[in-house]
Symmetry: C2
Subunit: 429 residues, 2 copies
């Protein structure tokens, strides 16, 4: 950095990269007023230069060669907005080795290969920041890492995947089936052509991995999480949840228990009185409990060109404060691995939905098996209507019970010949 | 700072000061892990040393003389938690002159004398941070100043006063009258013996002044705000608001209009579908719209020993990053004064409640006056029940109308001999 000028190179001019370029061009004066620094968009590498992005790139070096950004000695900060594993991983590594600070929104990469990348950053005396990787425009990384720095984080409950939240919201609002809601999400641009990573819980799990690493000050491996998506939820389940006073949300859950971390992503029945139940459509929210602050929530858009770019530029400004000093005191702790508690050792309240033949004694058989496993029933609904080939739905809410016991009981119940095998088990908040 | 040791002195060991001491003692290891720094509670000045605060202050210099903290050359950061104007102002000034960084939760002081204090900090090459002054434990100052640094802030709607929010929530939940709810708030410690500053809107106005200064990057004077409290709201108004689908909240409002800032604190009818309507009891929330990020919300406890201390310690850690460099690039802009738009030039939707004699032609008289002032009625309720000495309530919701026109119309309506003079005008979100 010379004369308070900060030079920035962008790798990838897709949705998010375009947003970053737009902010750097449009808000140059605002950023100067607020930070005392001038941020120059110096170079962009991108393979497809045919698309019109509505940007005036006069004076910006536009290239198809990432190396022209990565090796440019004038560039202080490299922004990676390509996404995915390769070539993003290689490019970020090269930027760090060239002693350039890096800002990225790449949650998949940070969640799965963060450890190597943070190590590389540390070795080269530069920073790797990733505010945009979780919660889009919501400053949750900063909130957790700096705002709540004085707190042991007891728990985090996050709505971290906009696609899933949009689908579930639409199923709640207009009683759509999953497939209809997914199609609407795709039509509105809230779901990709291949939505697997979103609806399977994988994307939320990437983000939870990152939050858990920050919250615990220890390294969390993506594979330590237990992950379940929203694809098995039907219109009927939404209706039942509603009737019990709950809203179904895909929650990413972090709990610091005595013997380790409880880390899960799964659809959850959230009581309607809880603020998270009111977070609808594509929006995200992160509900955090710290031992001094108590309950806090951060809410906002979890994706999109402009919100994600807002988060990236906040990282750029943050980095620039320390550019001359090469301070890297924000590094993630790499030396300690987090201990996790296996799902089987957790207890939860459960929502269970079966389709059974409408015959006498069935309920007593099911509740008998649950009882044998010390699972007690809090409330129950059996509908009279005959649907689904003479099968009728039975829905139970249980009291607190062990996951292990529930898995064993469900295994037995699933084998009963009057129970169809597409039963559903959800958890309560 | 020597050998990564940061020495801290606290002025005032009341509720918040005690919380700060508690974090520095209890979370020393956590803070060291996260920041690489050791934070030492070096000295505390306090007049009343008789109270047992449950702190082990072995090794801490405990004094009744603030100067022993302010003049101690070993102290890097002074935390002011005395509150009020004096001696807090004198002490903070002296600390800054002694080239010590200062952290404070003193919203009244920052809102009314911040300009002088920030100037003094700048002249002495030190920082004055104040995260805890707004929203207690919620990292809203950091969120606004750093997390949303890339955004022009279009609007802020804040529930910033826990006392008022508690009172209004209790009025909503159990249909209490204002006085009953206030008494309950006092009994539960959510309102002070003299609650004037809270229920008059003054405290929320202090906090809005601070947020507005940050959001606009220009200095806002406390007297530029128009402020109205919650004391005139009755159980009846709560009931009417509910019936229209609204919740009454004391909102602190910031809007960046073309010709200046619209800055107001007043009770507001918030639609029940809005997230702010679900922020209940003593909790605070700040709903921010930025031109890139869109809508975000920050939610959490707005007061209390532990949350407020959490925010103060986050400032302490932030400051310590730059302690060696004497970087003060977080200074508030002092050179530009914000332009505000007078209330009379604003338009709003209104809630109007009158008590009138139950006689023919009254409604046409009132609606006639409103019509003369170009105020059109969106909905209206007149109750049949005779109460209040044969006066009956009439409630109107208007379409968008000018504040000036409304003031003139109300002046005329108030003079009608069949209208009691305790009418109420509220605004809609």
């Amino acid at each position: 950095m010379k004369d308070n000028q900060v030079n920035i190179g962008i790798l990838g001019l897709g949705t998010v990269g375009t947003g970053v370029a737009r902010i750097l061009l449009e808000q140059k004066e605002l950023l100067r007023t607020r930070s005392g620094l001038t941020f120059n968009l110096t170079a962009i590498s991108e393979l497809d230069w045919n698309r019109d992005r509505g940007l005036d790139l006069t004076g910006v070096h536009c290239t198809t060669q990432a190396d022209e950004v990565l090796n440019d000695p004038n560039i202080d900060i490299v922004v990676e907005t390509i996404g995915g594993y390769e070539p993003a991983y290689t490019f970020i590594s090269r930027a760090l080795q060239n002693k350039k600070h890096v800002v990225t929104a790449n949650k998949a990469l940070i969640a799965t290969r963060g450890r190597e990348l943070f190590k590389l950053a540390e070795e080269n005396g530069v920073d790797l920041l990733f505010e945009a990787s979780v919660g889009g425009g919501i400053p949750i990384i900063k909130g957790l890492r700096e705002g709540l720095v004085a707190n042991r984080i007891n728990s985090i409950y996050g709505i971290l995947n906009g696609t899933s939240n949009f689908i579930l919201s639409r199923m709640h609002q207009d009683e759509l089936e999953f497939d209809q809601a997914l199609k609407e999400a795709q039509a509105k641009g809230f779901a990709e052509a291949d939505p697997t990573l979103d609806i399977s819980g994988g994307d939320a799990a990437h983000k939870l991995t990152i939050l858990a690493t920050l919250a615990s000050s220890a390294f969390v491996d993506y594979h330590q999480l237990s992950v379940e998506g929203i694809t098995n939820i039907t219109k009927l389940d939404i209706t039942f949840a509603k009737s019990f006073g709950y809203t179904i949300k895909l929650l990413a859950i972090y709990r610091a228990l005595e013997n380790g971390l409880d880390l899960r992503v799964h659809p959850t029945l959230v009581p309607n009185s809880h603020l998270l139940a009111a977070v609808n459509n594509e929006l995200n929210a992160v509900f955090v409990n710290g031992d001094f602050v108590g309950n806090t929530m951060f809410y906002g858009p979890g994706a999109g060109e402009r919100p994600t770019a807002s988060a990236i530029v906040s990282d750029i400004v943050d980095l620039s404060r320390n550019l001359d000093q090469h301070l890297t005191n924000r590094a993630v702790h790499l030396d300690r691995a987090a201990a996790t508690v296996p799902l089987t050792e957790i207890t939860n309240r459960f929502y269970l939905r079966f389709f059974t033949l409408d015959a006498p004694g069935i309920l007593s058989k099911i509740s008998g098996i649950l009882g044998e496993h010390n699972i007690s029933i809090a409330s129950m609904v059996q509908l009279e209507t005959h649907e689904q080939d003479h099968y009728v739905p039975i829905v139970l809410l249980t009291h607190e019970a062990s996951e292990q016991a529930m898995a064993e009981a469900l295994d037995k119940i699933g084998k009963l010949d009057f129970v169809r095998d597409n039963y559903l088990r959800l958890r309560l908040f």
